[in-house]
Each structure stands twice: as C-alpha cells, then as structure tokens.
C-alpha cells in the first residue's frame, strides 16, 4: 500500500513539473482503485454498480481541474481519496440516496483487487454533445480519434494554442454540466 501511494506521489510531482507521460500513467494507475471504491459505495447505497464508471470519470475530471490544490509536499493519496469521496457523495445525493459513505471506501482498496479495464460512461458522452461545436470537435479528436494537439490543429485549421484553449474550456464546461445537471 505504502509503496503504491509513494509511487503516485512521485508521479504527480513529475506531472506537475510538466511530464505529461507521468500524468497519464498516474491517472491510469489510480483509475482501477477509484472504480472499485465507487462500486463499493454504490453497492452500499443499494445502487447498481453500472453507474460506477460515471462516478470514476467525474472524479478524474475533478482531479484534473483541481490539481493545483494538491500540496506537492503532501502525499497524493489522501488528496485523491478526499475528492473521490466528495464526488461519490454528490453522485449518490443526486440519485436521491441517503448517503453513508464509508470513510475507508477509497483508502481500503487493495492493489490487484480491481482488474485493469476501461468502460464507457453515459453521462460524459451525453454532456459532450451539448458543448459548443469547436470544443466538441477538439475533445472528440483527442479523445476518440487519439489525435495529438498538433494533428487536431491541422485538421481544424486552428493554431495549437487555440486547440489547447478549446480543450481546457471543453473539459471545464463538461465538469460544470456534470455537476449541475
């Protein structure tokens, strides 16, 4: 456990220093843990586990948009699990559930417990379609077509800077829509 969490902290430090690959690895590493915790939280609230992926994606978006609130001197896991808990509580409340989130739902997940897998989630996809055309194009291109920022810029005759702006605004707008819908 300790080893895994130290590794996350190191990856996040590299990510904050500008290492995109480290950031990618970190997000992939934490996702199964978040997924297992989300499933456990849903099960406890008597909800079907198939909504777990929506919650996982919401947590990942919040982690991304709030990563500047992480103190690089502090371990990463408590910060991550706090966001996870908040998002799980929000999601259960939105579904009209009385909330009993176990404080250890996130921290308890054992390594290897959750298989590496990826799953589609309905909510992000649905909200994606409500974004302005340009943001949607850029997000689709990078997410679905795995295009780089450079390729996306060429495809839509935009500058790379404009692609970056549209990408960030799209992610922020998506998060706001998920929160308020």
């Amino acid at each position: 456990m300790r080893g895994r969490e130290d590794e996350w902290t190191d990856l996040m430090r590299s990510a904050m220093a500008g290492d995109d690959a480290a950031y990618h690895r970190l997000l992939r590493a934490v996702t199964p843990v978040l997924r297992a915790a989300a499933r456990r939280g849903l099960a406890r609230a008597g909800q079907p586990p198939d909504q777990a992926e929506d919650i996982v994606q919401e947590i990942l978006l919040a982690v991304h948009l709030k990563r500047h609130t992480w103190d690089s001197e502090a371990p990463f896991a408590p910060w991550l699990f706090a966001i996870g808990r908040n998002k799980l509580i929000d999601a259960l409340r939105r579904r009209g559930r009385r909330v009993f989130v176990n404080i250890d739902d996130f921290a308890e997940t054992l390594p290897g417990e959750a298989p590496q897998e990826t799953a589609s989630a309905g909510e992000v996809t649905a909200q994606l379609n409500t974004l302005p055309q340009r943001q949607r194009d850029v997000l689709q291109s990078i997410a679905v077509d795995s295009a780089s920022i450079k390729d996306t810029a060429a495809k839509y005759a935009m500058s790379e800077g404009a692609v970056r702006v549209a990408l960030h605004r799209g992610l922020a707008a998506l998060t706001a829509k998920l929160r308020d819908h």
Binding site: A82, N86, I142
Partner: protein, 212 residues
Amino acid sequence: MDTDQLIRTLAADNAHRVPRVGALLTTGLLVAAPFSILIFATFLGVRPDVMTAMHNPFFDAKFAVTLSLAIPAIIISLHLSRPEALMRGWGWLLLLPVGLLAVAIGSEAMMAPAMPMTMRLVGKNSRWCMLAIPAMSLPLLAGALFGLRHGAPSRPAQAGALAGLLSAGLAATLYASHCTDDSPLFVATWYTIATAVVTAIGAAVGSRVLRY
C-alpha cells in the same frame, strides 16, 4: 467516451496551469477593495477626531479585534480550499477576536465608566454599523468567493462562511476608523451582528458557488 479516452484527453491538457488559490484570493480581494473603499469614502469617511482617538486604547482595540478576525479567516479559508482539509485544529484561531474582546470588555469594566453601560452598549451608530459593515463586505465577499472558487473545499457552505468572516473582518476594520463608538461592549454587540449577517450570506452563496 470510455475512461481511457478521457484519461488521454486529460493528459493532453496537462500543460494548462492554474495559479494557486492564494494568488487568486489575493487578486479577488484587491479587485474588490476599491468598491468597498468607495462606499466608505462616499458615505462614511474617517472620523474627524482620529488623531485624538488614536490615544484611546479602546479605539485601537477595535482594529486588533477586526484584524484578528480577518487574518485567521483568510488563513483558514485557504486551508479549507484543499479537499482533504478539515476544520479540526484550525477553528481555535477564530477564538482570537473573541478573547481580545473579552479582555477589552474586562478592562473597560475595571475603569471608572465615562458613560452609563446602556449608552456604551447602544452607542450612537448602531444602525449605521449594522448597515455599513455588510454593505462594505459584499464586494469583498464577492472577490473572496471568486478566488476560493478555484479551490476544492469538501464543505462549500463552511468555506463560504469563512469567506463571509474574512470579508466582514476587513470591512469592519474600515468601519472602525469611522465609528465614534469605541466601547468594546458596542463592538461585541453590533459588529458581531453585522458579521453574523455577512457570514450567513457567505455560507448560503458558498454552498452553491464553491461546489466543484
């Protein structure tokens, strides 16, 4: 969109950087301050006998009380902008102004009273005080909430209440230089009511705008 695709997209946005919440809170307060000062300069102004008043320890005590509210409230609101942060271990800082007021009230009680207690308590400006402090707080509260919106507080209403406390503390510091009621009894009553109003507004607005 599947989760791997989302992760790839987030990684592509890693270059985007947001300033620290502290920097944004400072910006918000600096942008808001001229509005509060404008209200102060238009409707209130520094009391004319300020040079004499400065020799009165109870006049000076008002600033100690209001700043001992504003500064800890700023520190705690920044602390609470982190998702894993708890109020535990920090709340005692908010007892500083209460302690200072208690000491000031005690000192005043030991002196020969210049005025009857009811007059010191009610003062001449209680209605102004209850109006002016919230009015000057509102721009600062908006500025504080703008800055704190970039944080990720686990309890948005609590963070909003702290934003209310810090803006009321700053507004009360301005107001203290106008008001001729220096009795700690007056401060303990009317400043507290005004602060409570602003704190309640901060909590109500914060519970909406500080969710992330």
